[in-house]
Point group: C2
């Protein structure tokens, strides 16, 4: 590997697609031989933040803990992928300041589409007033002003978003050199044989049929 | 590096010498080019465990969080060094079960000697009854039954303890091959020149005079 650890910090509304992309990206990077930790919001809450609630103060504290673990993982030469909503710009910028190689990916999706998806059924409860302070409904989501990448999950396929993330990582020099050709740098650099090998690999991972 | 991450889990009474050895070991391993995170008890409390107290339940939770971060760091190929008292055998064994390469170092020192050192002045307060539930005074320290190594900080110099830890890591195959000769494998494998170079390096690090 390149020996540079880094953090891919996904941020976006509930149901925007962060966790899905985080899981696919983790599998893709692991498949390339990188050490990866997927700091999934739920696991982190269980392992690091028992007792914290959902007030702004507690959510900020939760994000700071994620940031700490992501920093440690990156410093060790690994790849940390985070997928907490992380709605507040100030705390995200704290994470950016703490982590040497920080790649902020804004997972953009109109709130109307997120409400339709409502993966965990929480928008419904928030709209019914059963949950207070829900991001996107009665609590703000502050969009990143200058993220390394914006993916549009209402307009792109999951694979297109993943390809865009890989392209960004490659452009930033964060992917191992001998592995990047097959997908991240476009068709012109890839022979038919290489493409076929890559597709075979992707089929094995369940990404393409 | 060997590409195997691992965790060195120091455990022992307050003032037994855990933090000192952790700092020296971290510097030594970093000097050998390994990515190292020193999960110092105070830093971890600040970054991961704000709001937790010193009840058995809260201390257990604190140790579980340290264990989680150590696991992540080790999984990324790094070296995590922990130096929390971690007085309870059960929670240490949970950490052992969670972390693939787990090296438990029992930092042994008679409590009378620890009381004399009393680095933070806490034994004095505990003996005066101002602190309740203090490990070694009115709360138990459960010695490891089967640690990878015991160091005796009342009998050995700091450098002897560090050498013993390095020897153990080397025996377990956890140190990079081309770097271990100079210190960890005993005099017979080391030429006079090599020893002089190593001493020069150690002087530079402030370990020997």
């Amino acid at each position: 590997m390149s020996n540079k650890g880094f953090t891919v910090w996904m941020t976006g509304l509930p149901s925007s697609g962060k966790s899905t992309l985080a899981g696919l990206l983790a599998a893709e990077l692991q498949g390339r031989g990188l050490p990866v930790v997927n700091l999934d919001g739920d696991e982190v809450r269980m392992r690091l933040s028992k007792g914290l609630g959902f007030s702004k103060e507690d959510r900020d504290e939760n994000i700071r803990r994620i940031s700490y673990v992501a920093r440690v993982a990156s410093d060790m030469g690994g790849v940390a992928i985070t997928s907490a909503i992380s709605p507040y710009r100030e705390i995200r910028d704290e994470a950016r300041a703490e982590i040497a190689q920080f790649v902020e990916v804004f997972v953009s999706c109109p709130v109307e589409v997120c409400i339709q998806r409502d993966v965990k059924g929480l928008y419904k409860k928030a709209l019914a007033g059963e949950i207070k302070g829900f991001t996107g409904i009665d609590d703000p989501y502050e969009e990143p002003l200058n993220p390394e990448l914006v993916v549009h999950t209402d307009l792109e396929s999951e694979q297109e978003s993943i390809d865009n993330i890989l392209g960004t990582l490659d452009r930033l020099g964060l992917l191992p050199k001998n592995e990047t050709n097959s997908r991240a740098t476009g068709a012109s650099a890839v022979s038919d044989d290489e493409r076929e090998q890559a597709l075979t690999k992707l089929r094995g991972l369940g990404y393409v049929e």
